[in-house]
């Protein structure tokens, strides 16, 4: 059973959104379920701080041994930080997807977009479906 923490928001494309101490900034990564499906992550291609994305734009790619997947931005906004540690150790996405395996920190442009994201129970239902 994969780990789906309460209190986070999710997308159907298996990204999670975590609140931060700043009201309009959110940390984005991929879920435990997603990393399990991908297998050993060998490379994560991230955007540069300052890049802007609309909701569900591709903000990067994640490469496992057998597949490469796009990463979708759950929110519209600007990238304020990226997880540089993934350059040296992309396997952090496997070992700690919700912690050290985070990907980008986004300053949201439209807070109402949070409402269309899935709750942990919605997401749990989504991956079981």
């Amino acid at each position: 059973m994969s780990d789906i923490p309460e209190g986070l928001k999710y997308t159907e494309e298996h990204e999670y959104v975590r609140e931060t101490e700043a009201a309009d900034e959110f940390v984005v990564g991929i879920t435990d379920y997603a990393q399990g499906e991908l297998g050993d992550v060998v490379f994560v291609e991230l955007p540069s701080p300052g890049d802007s994305f609309a909701r569900m734009d591709v903000f990067g790619t994640i490469e496992a041994v057998k597949a490469v997947s796009d990463l979708y931005s759950p929110l519209s906004g600007e990238v304020v930080a990226i997880n540089e540690a993934l350059n040296d150790d992309p396997a952090l996405v496997n070992s700690d997807p919700y912690g050290e395996g985070w990907m980008v920190r986004i300053r949201a442009r439209d807070m109402s977009e949070l409402d269309v994201l899935l709750s942990d129970t919605d997401y749990s239902g989504h991956i079981e479906a």
Binding site: E45, E63, A64, K66, A67, V68
Partner: protein, 444 residues
């Protein structure tokens, strides 16, 4: 199991399944006016011997000329060992391996090929080969757009017009196009014009080294200009001249492509050939084509694998880095064997003899009336352009009668904006006597 595809019974079954009565109905979108009715004037069937004789008669109409034509493909000597080795049955396939890891020998050769391409170009990583030089240049432009996420592509006006055309075709498919940067009166790319054309939407500058007129471009300042503007520098190289010139990698290129034909692949009315493609390590995940990597197996023995396949079309579909997911296996093998036979010193000698021949010819041609160098002060290695007061096509005709292919007519390439004349190329196969005959042909 029968290996006959599409028997009448199969067709009937398929027609019934999709709900059409016959082939014509299946292709009902094609108007009647475009349908060919019967084959036009096909001769009767021939016996094997009759067919051989007919083909030999056709082949005997080919002319064997002493070749001073280049413009991208060059008449170098290919040692007999190349042909002998590539015909070994373990190697003799034109195709990239599709169950690659069982073909360790093939993968090892490709790995050696990549290593040689890296050493030659001064780059970090090379792929298993492209179709040819022009498609390699086009792929480099596409890759630069992906790396920079920028739109515009600039190319030196002195880029081979065929390369320009192929690259432009690729780019139009992506909603972009090529913009030319003029050549200055010294035969080098006009840096002021370049500085004006650069901007924050430029993905790359493509420059040829030496350029189409044989002139050795100064790569370093171009790399600086392009990179300062956030664009990549793509260098299209004549790989033989790299035996003498500093490598594009050393001079700051981000991507280097080349026509690999001079290595192991004889001129054969235009092909088949092999494209070389190399880049800086940091761009490896955006590189098109196949890449062979070395690894170790469970018992710590060295082995080879196709690496980074996840970016390729059979896996990433429409999101693949490129449409190419094959390589020019047999041609790359021929290039590898030829380069291995030459070695570093051998390649330098080939380039030196070619350059010596070119410079000897230049001295003779300069003395002729009605012949002038297009760029008299420009440095060149083994190819240069002359303008001729006589129509260049008339000179070529005269050469043809004398068994000499006297270069390539510049009038074939109106887009260059060059005067009428000849582009002349020299290889280690030419000797003084042949060059003197060329000079006689041009003198008239």
């Amino acid at each position: 199991m029968s290996f006959v595809p599409h028997s009448d019974a199969d067709r009937r079954e398929m027609f019934a399944k999709v709900g059409v009565s016959d082939m014509r109905e299946l292709y009902s979108d094609v108007p009647d006016s475009l349908i060919q009715k019967g084959l036009p004037e096909m001769p009767d069937a021939l016996s094997e011997w009759e067919a051989v004789r007919a083909i030999q008669e056709m082949a005997s109409q080919n002319h064997s000329l002493v070749c001073f034509a280049g413009a991208g493909q060059y008449d170098h000597f290919v040692p007999a060992a190349v042909d002998h080795l590539i015909r070994r049955s373990e190697f003799y396939t034109a195709y990239t391996p599709y169950q690659p890891e069982v073909s360790q020998g093939t993968l090892q050769v490709i790995y050696e090929f990549q290593t040689m391409v890296c050493e030659l170009t001064g780059m970090d990583v090379a792929n298993a080969s492209m179709y040819d030089g022009p498609s390699a240049a086009a792929e480099a432009a596409v890759m630069a757009r992906a790396v920079t996420r920028r739109d515009r592509v600039l190319a030196a006006g002195s880029l081979n017009p065929h390369y320009r055309k192929v690259t432009d075709t690729y780019l139009r498919g992506q909603g972009s196009e090529l913009q030319g940067i003029p050549t200055g009166p010294d035969g080098l790319l006009d840096r002021d014009a370049l500085a004006k054309a650069l901007g924050d939407d430029v993905a790359c500058l493509i420059v040829q080294y030496p350029n189409f007129f044989g002139v050795v471009e100064e790569i370093e300042p171009l790399a600086e200009l392009a990179q300062k503007a956030g664009a990549l520098l793509v260098v299209v190289a004549d790989p033989v001249t790299l035996g003498l010139l500093r490598s594009p990698g050393e001079l700051g290129a981000d991507i280097v492509v080349a026509e690999g034909q001079p290595f192991g692949n004889p001129l054969s009315f235009g092909g088949p050939v092999v494209g070389l493609f190399a880049a800086k390590q940091k761009y490896v995940r955006k590189m098109p084509g196949r890449i062979v990597g070395a690894t170790v197996d469970v018992e710590d023995r060295r082995g080879y694998v196709l690496t980074l396949q996840t970016r390729e079309q059979q896996i990433r579909r429409d999101k693949a880095t490129s449409n190419i997911c094959t390589n020019q296996g047999l041609n790359a093998l021929a290039a590898t064997i030829h380069l291995a036979l030459l070695g570093r010193e051998g390649l330098r000698e080939v380039a030196e003899v070619s350059a010596r021949n070119a410079h000897y010819a230049r001295g003779k041609l300069e003395a002729l009336d009605g012949v002038e160098l297009v760029y008299p002060d420009a440095p060149f290695v083994r190819e240069f352009a002359v303008k001729t007061t006589e129509n260049s096509r008339a000179i070529l005709e005269r050469g043809f009668s004398a068994g000499i292919l006297a270069g390539v007519s510049l009038s074939r390439f109106p887009s260059l904006g060059a005067p009428d004349g000849l582009l002349l190329a020299f290889t280690e196969k030419r000797n003084q006597e042949e060059i003197d005959r060329l000079v006689d042909v041009i003198a008239g």
